[in-house]
């Protein structure tokens, strides 16, 4: 159920021959993108679309490259990533911990699950306005919002994953007189890892979305604020460039995640 | 009347990465099931029996040679050839009820005939002993019952040739015998050509007119024996027949690759 995976990840087991064929086919895709970009460039240059917010692509690329030498986009991006990383760490740690605890303990389940289920459907942007009044607009607010958004997919997947851990495994551990805590850490946690990883992967994309959202609503720094700021500063080229860097970031994170997943959970999808 | 189905010098080579020659699954197999014959193919595990059957069904092309249906070579799954999978649970459509699964092959028919066809499918379900389970879902049934659904569905397709790919290997011993009897009864009634692939020697002898034995890799045809046991066959008496026991001894030792002397006499 790794919804946030890549397209290619699914077809990893293809043979060399079909990969080569596929690479050949992909040329059409690249041509398609080039055509779209060309159309964009031409439509802007020749004035088919008259708007201050429709700069030629070349101008966007140029802005993006200039930013590499020093500019606000990368600084903003770093600020966003820092918050996203902290929020992700907090949210996913809590998600895994509570998911396992609630999955294994009936008492905790009865005590906490209804509460979690009530909070779960709130779209994150909605909690930002009231939270501003308690947490201000600084990191506390944004990290809280990001953690919240990260927590739910991780929790839900972990919780469901724990439920599918075969009792045989746990009974096996018991026959070896393994302690409860050790069973949790050494048997249940590893057995749940694939489910946790799926949750984490869904969460990674949500994390960035919500980081940007929180910066837009309660902005002062970060790439989300930067986008709104550039909107007001009439610099669409920088806005598009920022979106481009965000896309690259999102892509890199997803790739990194897949690589780590394949390394650390080699049994993923094998059981 | 069932149609003849033949393998004409069939060779199958699988491409393997890093090897130029590839893996040779079968080398030059020639074998034919006569019209309305029940042919069994036995072989050790992993000899690629299922591959042979998949080629017969037109699901996989042979590397060399031809598959002939009534003398005509086939390329795609031809009408009238029905495949009964070992993994019955996977071949049934979980989102359809039992009756809708059986209806599947008939859904190409004109709309006004659907009612009659549905009645026919009920009848097939009755024939396989699934009276009253029409509206259940496959996952609500036991393994043996699921395979009965698959059999009923195969019947609905009006098979000229029925390909059975270890169809009873995943059910318990008693259910297995019941299903064997059921298939035999249906075969005797409908007179289709049946090709059974199995690693179970007794099952092959009990069901088939002839048994083809495949050898180890690369798999080639080792021997074909005539069963010659009287029909109708019975789970108790047939299996106690001295000839049954003799055949069993012979085939088992062939598969275990022991030489036994008195084989030729049979």
């Amino acid at each position: 159920m790794s919804v946030a995976g890549t397209l290619e990840g699914t077809s990893r087991k293809r043979t060399a021959g079909s990969n080569r064929r596929r690479l050949g086919k992909r040329v059409y895709g690249v041509v398609l993108i080039a055509a779209i970009l060309l159309f964009w460039e031409v439509s802007s240059r020749l004035g088919w679309i008259v708007s201050a917010y429709w700069p030629p692509v070349s101008q966007i690329f140029q802005a993006a490259i200039v930013q590499l030498a020093g500019g606000d986009i990368l600084v903003s991006l770093a600020a966003t990533l820092r918050r996203a990383a902290i929020g992700f760490a907090v949210g996913s740690t809590l998600g895994v911990a509570l998911g396992i605890l609630l999955g294994r303990s009936k008492v905790l389940r009865i005590a906490l699950l209804p509460l979690i289920e009530i909070v779960r459907p709130i779209p994150t942007p909605a909690v930002i306005p009231p939270l501003i009044m308690f947490l201000g607009v600084d990191d506390a607010l944004k990290i809280f919002a990001i953690s919240l958004a990260t927590f739910f997919p991780v929790f839900t997947n972990t919780f469901a994953g724990v439920a599918t851990v075969d009792d045989t495994l746990i009974q096996t551990a018991r026959t070896f007189r393994t302690s409860w805590a050790r069973t949790l850490l050494r048997v249940i946690l590893p057995a749940t890892l694939p489910a946790i990883a799926a949750g984490l992967r869904t969460a990674t994309s949500l994390t960035l979305v919500v980081a940007v959202v929180s910066e837009m609503i309660a902005g002062s720094s970060g790439i989300g604020y930067y986008l709104v700021e550039m909107q007001y500063a009439l610099r669409p080229d920088l806005m598009y460039a920022a979106v481009m860097y965000l896309a690259i970031t999102g892509y890199t994170i997803n790739r990194l995640f897949l690589v780590l997943e394949a390394r650390l959970i080699p049994w993923m999808g094998k059981t | 009347m069932g149609e003849r189905l033949g393998f004409d010098h069939v060779t199958k080579i699988f491409e393997t990465p890093g090897s130029d020659t590839g893996f040779v699954a079968f080398d030059d197999i020639t074998l034919e099931a006569a019209s309305s014959e029940f042919l069994a193919i036995v072989g050790p595990s992993g000899c690629g029996k299922s591959t042979l059957l998949k080629m017969a069904a037109g699901l996989m092309p042979p590397t060399k040679g031809k598959i002939l249906l009534d003398g005509k070579p086939i390329f795609d799954p031809p009408p009238g050839v029905v495949y009964l999978f070992q993994q019955y649970a996977k071949s049934l459509f979980a989102w359809r009820t039992v009756i809708d699964n059986v209806m599947f092959p008939l859904e190409g028919a004109p709309r006004h005939q659907r009612g009659d066809l549905r009645e026919m499918c009920r009848d097939y379900l009755k024939q396989v002993g699934l009276d009253g389970f029409e509206d259940s879902y496959p996952w609500q049934l036991s393994g043996g019952m699921q395979q009965r659904v698959a059999i009923a569905r195969a019947l609905a397709a009006d098979p000229q040739v029925l390909l059975l790919d270890e169809p009873f290997s995943a059910v318990d011993a008693l259910t297995r015998m019941e299903l064997q009897t059921l298939v035999l009864q249906l075969w005797e009634r409908r007179k289709f050509t049946a090709i059974l692939v199995t690693h179970d020697v007794e099952e092959a002898i009990f069901l088939a007119d002839r048994v083809a034995v495949l050898g180890a890799k690369p798999t080639a045809l080792k021997e074909i024996i005539e069963v010659g046991l009287p029909r109708p066959r019975d789970q108790l008496t047939t299996r106690e027949d001295p000839r049954f026991l003799k055949l069993r001894h012979h085939l088992t030792s062939l598969l275990l690759a022991r030489n036994s002397g008195h084989v030729a006499a049979v």
Partner: protein, 318 residues
């Protein structure tokens, strides 16, 4: 899985560390929420000229687009001072929030520097509030100062504001919306209003601030009553520094130096800014002007009744 985190965070951490700069000083920090528009130029002038440093303050500005997070952030403790508009202050006060005006921010008292017009398509024939009945006008946010004066202008020119549809459109989108006929009129601020009028097709038919209430106090610097009583010196120093900035701004508001300052924090091209006339910065808040705004709010049902302005506006702002 632990390794995943470690490696992931190490990568991100390095990236962040490489870019973040450490800042340390023994000056007292004042966190100010601003809206990145021309109006806060005196604050930035004071910062750049070192007026705050001389007083022992370090100003940390936090821009907020549209200013939506300003007062809530003040209440939440993220800011010590917020630049906000008069309507928000009165609304917050009515709801029982402890806000205090400590310095004036923006005042519109000269028609020639009033860059907040109502724009319409030149061929629309709309000239008055009466003409707008049954049509639509855009404001950036409903229930704010822009909305209030748009309503007042419609009423003053013979129209019924309740018969006009108010649409919320952010300033940057107004020009497109007008030209694409998605709205019939727009109450717009600089620099957007100036840029839009440079191209043909759009006409300004009114300047509601100047038309309705010349000298209106649009923006103020706000803090909380709590801060005012716990750190009175700090707040006083802030107001003093800001005033010095405003004085310098008023003396130099036609110079290019100002443009550089504004371009620095709005990130807008100086060439665009050049075409925008800058009004003088107010040195004190005007109680009678705020009272007029309050009456307008009551009339438009934004306020349920009058508020004791003396309690909201601290004497240091006067």
């Amino acid at each position: 899985m632990r390794k995943v985190f470690l490696i992931g965070f190490a990568v991100m951490g390095l990236f962040v560390l490489a870019i973040q700069r450490a800042t340390a000083s023994d000056l007292e920090k004042v966190r100010v929420s601003i809206i990145p528009i021309n109006d806060v130029a005196p604050l930035f002038v004071a910062m750049q000229n070192g007026y705050f440093r001389e007083l022992g303050l370090e100003i940390d500005t936090t821009p907020s687009a549209g200013g939506a997070a300003g007062i809530p952030g003040l209440i939440g403790g993220s800011f010590d001072v917020v630049y906000g508009n008069v309507v928000s202050v009165l609304l917050a006060s009515q709801q029982g929030l402890d806000v205090k005006v400590i310095a004036p921010g923006t005042k519109v008292d000269q028609r020639e520097t009033d860059t907040t017009p109502i724009l319409v398509r030149s061929d629309s024939g709309i000239k008055s509030g009466k003409d707008l009945e049954g049509k639509s006008i855009s404001v950036n946010t409903r229930n704010n100062v822009i909305w209030l004066y748009a309503r007042a202008w419609i009423k003053a020119t013979g129209g019924d504001p309740d018969k006009v549809t108010f649409k919320e459109i952010p300033f940057p989108q107004v020009e497109d919306a007008l030209r694409q006929q998605r709205v019939d009129a727009s109450f717009l601020v600089a620099p957007f209003s100036v840029i839009s009028r440079q191209k043909p097709g759009l006409t300004a038919i009114a300047n509601p601030y100047s038309d309705i209430q010349p000298g209106v106090d649009v923006g103020q610097y706000i803090t909380t009553g709590k801060l005012l009583s716990t750190k009175p010196e700090t707040i006083k120093k802030f107001a003093a520094g800001l005033r010095k900035g405003a004085e310098w701004f008023n003396a130099n508001r036609t110079s290019d130096a100002i443009l550089a300052v504004i371009s620095g924090y709005t990130k807008t091209d100086a060439s665009i800014l050049k075409s925008v006339a800058l009004g003088a910065a107010p040195l004190r808040s005007d109680l009678t002007q705020v009272k007029k705004t309050m009456d307008l709010m009551i009339e438009n049902k934004l306020l349920t009744g009058p508020i004791d302005l003396a309690k909201i506006i601290d004497p240091m702002a006067l």
